[in-house]
Amino acid sequence: MTLLTSVFLQIVQMLVVLALAPGLTGFVRWVKARLLARRGPSILQPYRDILRLLKKEAVLAHNASWLFRTTPYIMFTAIWLAAGLIPTFSTQLALAPTADLIALIALLGSARFFLALAGMDVGTSFGGIGSSREMMIAALAEPAMLMVVFSVAILVRSTSLAEIADFMMSGAVGLRISLALALISLVMVAIAENARIPVDNPATHLELTMVHEAMVLEYSGRHLALIEGASMLKLLLYAALIGCVFAPWGMAGPGADSAAVIRGLATFVLKLGVAGVLLAVFETSIAKMRVFRVGEFLGGALLLSLLGAIFLYVSRGV
């Protein structure tokens, strides 16, 4: 595969994630509405929302600093880049050599760092509450995610996502308890990171219970569009990440032709659909937990991933 193809595939990848992200969010909302016996808005609604927000004027608080204004751009760029790194339909991406899991976590971490700062920037109490809750969640979710990365890295002997996907596709890995534990842990982290029930409620109007929404309450217009877009990209990112590491089937590998690439794209959309349905069903069947239970929930995720890593050590005598 030439450099040109990989650059082309990388560009396609960046555009695909951007195009599909609002669709995934819309799809999850639609499935949830159907589960609640409602008709639900069209799957295209998030696209319309973002377009509408882009056209609207951005209102800023008088005391908003440069940080508040630049955060949406930083956040969107970081998450878009992170989503672009994950092999979704092909492992032959131009950025594949730089794309490892640690870089991914760093990108997500910086996006969160800036958003939490921006939440406090204007000085409203809700922003502060949201930021402090977000950091509490992050302090537990990030180590859990790192442990998942370590488990996988020990197994594959690489943190490069492309290599992990190729390795998992090769069938050399077999069934492993560690991977199952890592998967559960990663799903729990994904739920927390994407502000889904039971950790946060993406659809709530109750200011006092919000986490993510509380931080972005002061945003409007194009800033809000970017933040909403970034949240949607993040949801897609986690779905793609879980798909890439634990279910990479159908992805175009090294030396694949264009038919394989198209096949890869189709399976990716299919995987997103499955992830969306599972998420919607899970969210409908559970109530939101108390804020302080989030620690226990994510502590559980951390323990599971830790256990996975320990199993690997014990079983392989690394």
Binding site: L36, A37, S125, M289, F292
Partner: protein, 517 residues
Amino acid sequence: MYFGEDPLFGLLRRIGKPVAGHRPWPRYATTAGGWRTMIEALGGNGWSLLGLWAEPGTVHAAIREDMAGDLAVVSLDCPDGTFPSLSAARPGAIRLERAIQDLFGLTAERLTDARPWLDHDRWGVRRPLSDKPAAPMPNPPPYTFLPVEGEGLHQVPVGPVHAGIIEPGHFRFTCNGETVVRLEEQLGWVHKGIEGLMRGKPVEDAAKLAARVSGDSTVAYSLAFAQAVESALGVAVPPRAVWLRALMAELERTANHLGDIGAVCNDAAFAFMLAELSRLRELVARTADACFGHRLMMDRVVPGGVAVDISEDGPARLLELVAELRRRFPPLVAIYENKASLQDRTVGTGVVSGSLVNRFGAGGHVGRASGRGLDARRTPSYAPYEDLEFEVPVRTEGDVNARVWIRICEVEQSLGLVEQIVKRMPGAPRNEKGERPLPRVPVEGPGGEGMALVESFRGEILVWVRVNPDGTIDRCHPRDPSWFQWPLLEAAIEGNIVADFPLCNKSFNCSYSGHDL
């Protein structure tokens, strides 16, 4: 109280003179000394303050002796514009006295909290209902919230404009991290001037106003107003109207409770219950529409009877509705009961102690969830509930879960009541043309004063009214059950975390509109 003396009337005979023309319970005029004796008695157990309202130069207190269920009104003339405060004996009176200060300019002596309540200095006039309304203050001082001191405390102001489409109220949280140290409410944002608007209105027009004091309890308010006016004028209502009114009241109770149970679950982000229970609530609303021509049955209860009789197929539809709800409601209750993630949110959250509920005299699900099993349909009771079988559910935990369960049990009781009423309601004799005459009598009389206590889905609504001889309303005071429930919300949230407030608030579901008058 002296030995062998009737607890309530014995006391009242000692301290005051009965005033003629107040029905169905007596009214006694007393002196400042007698008023203080009454305050002493009120401080004891077994007494409730049901309401405290004013007119220029006079304050009235409605009190109840809970054991016997006797009611009376005590009135005090205060020519110097002051009256001894009830707040030391009954803390529930604090906000009522603050409202009296704002509206009538009568000052409560030794009131523990004399800040304005309903008046936020945004009206074009001060003391609007007094004899001499004053011009607004040129530079009103900002409202001072109660001071809170301590290290690491921060304040979270919420409202009066909220992120959802709900009524306005301001909540000032003082927190230590996530834990609420103090919550202070500031209400009055939807003050409509109900008492002022009622003055001089013909009874029919005033009834429309009464029906709109708090829209979700429109039947209960209409019923309370109608009963008060009928008592004042000595009008006897046709029996069929009495039963139809109870039917509407129970339908309203069922619909509201179904909605509330779902809304509590939704605030724990369990939207499934809200979706399913909203369907059931919709079923009730549609049946009400088919039976009485209005989904909420607004303006269907009028002084003198009812504005519409039930439709021909109404009884059959209602029995169908009861059967349908009995089929579809219990599985949802089972889901509520068995959903661990939901129980984790509701059990033990927002506890109100029984002693507090008794001190404030809170009724409805707030009182009954904390062991105060009073229900206006039982004490003092009104027709036709003496002839109907129902239970008043009581729990003692006082948490969100208990308040949800009270509602669940009341839905079941109300369904039983609807069934009994439909089956036993007196029939409507048809005239020679085959039409059913409307069970309604003209509201006429020489004027007088009347009071009524009616159980809404929130608790007991008190309406006091004085009708002029020409058939217009001289004074009317509706007292929403929320007056005695709002203060308890401040107590319920203490020590809980900020994020649990919406859940506690929804489990109370107090009325803003009914409270703000």
